[in-house]
Point group: C2
């Protein structure tokens, strides 16, 4: 069941007869936003390639990174999709990124009415749940040093394409603290 084959999942979505002509292909350049914190964005984005960071800006001017989406993936703001509320985080492209977007409600209806697609969607939600459970475990149970080692080990390809600032803000520490950890580990 898990792991998920995004390639096939996204292909089946895009091939679905009831979604023909509904999707919108967009190419974002490095530095462009898919959506910004505070905006209401009721789309779902099927990502084909690229690198996106989802992050929060706090009141005291800090940035903390919720997650990265690399190459294939599905993303959006649940708060906006489900409740029509402003997104609590932004989606910023760190590299050129190609996505296909659908109105969320239509997307969900089509998936729920399709015997096969609903299974794909269900698998995706379960896969995402496992991912988020691991993330929760790291934030709750691991020291910054252990979380960093874990991140290096689990995401070697991602690490190469990120700055130390972004890695630190994903781990919940400052880049200075990360620099100290790296020094400690040598």
């Amino acid at each position: 069941m898990v792991p998920l084959d995004f390639e096939s999942f996204i292909h089946r979505i895009e091939a679905h007869p009831q979604l023909q002509g509904v999707g919108l292909r967009t190419v974002y350049q490095k530095g462009e936003y898919i959506f910004k914190q505070g905006e209401i964005c009721q789309k779902v984005f099927c990502m084909h390639n690229g690198l996106v960071k989802l992050y929060y800006n706090t009141q005291d001017g800090k940035e903390w990174i919720k997650s990265f989406v690399l190459d294939q993936g599905v993303l959006g703001s649940r708060s906006s999709q489900l409740m029509g509320k402003p997104s609590p985080f932004s989606a910023l492209c760190l590299e050129k990124t190609e996505v296909q977007s659908y109105p969320y409600k239509r997307f969900a209806e089509v998936c729920l009415d399709d015997h096969d697609l609903v299974r794909d969607l269900f698998n995706f939600l379960q896969w995402l749940g496992v991912k988020k459970e691991i993330r929760e475990y790291q934030l709750l149970c691991l020291s910054a040093e252990d979380a960093y080692k874990d991140f290096l080990h689990t995401n070697p390809k991602l690490v190469e394409r990120l700055t130390q600032v972004d890695i630190a803000h994903y781990l919940g520490i400052t880049p200075i603290a990360l620099s100290r950890i790296k020094k400690r580990l040598t």
Copy 2:
């Protein structure tokens, strides 16, 4: 869509013709485990009343609490259900708790094959996703003090039924640190 009506959701599950006689009713007393960290538990538990804590024991002998489930809810170990792996956390009853358990695979099949139930399940997974997103935000972006204030505000009924030790371990700090925070807030 969100918030979720657990009462109706669980009722529809238990009333489903293909789940008749499949579920097992169990009453756990305070201090009893529904499942333990390290065990493989491929059931899903529909909780009717009670209070459960889901928590990790780390190698260095510490306990960190993933979440609480109060009164109505659905719980289980995704790692076990989906991948047949040992559960990374335990489910311990803090009060007398009544649950109805189903083999996960059967439960999922029945839900996915039922036009209405699959919508309930989908809503539940989305609701859970929103919950977990908020939890991630608290662990990533908030100080212990702010997370505590947030917890008090969002879970007033839960707070009354928990010890300070458990609240602290949910927040990711020691009970001593929580005691200091409480002192600071007066």
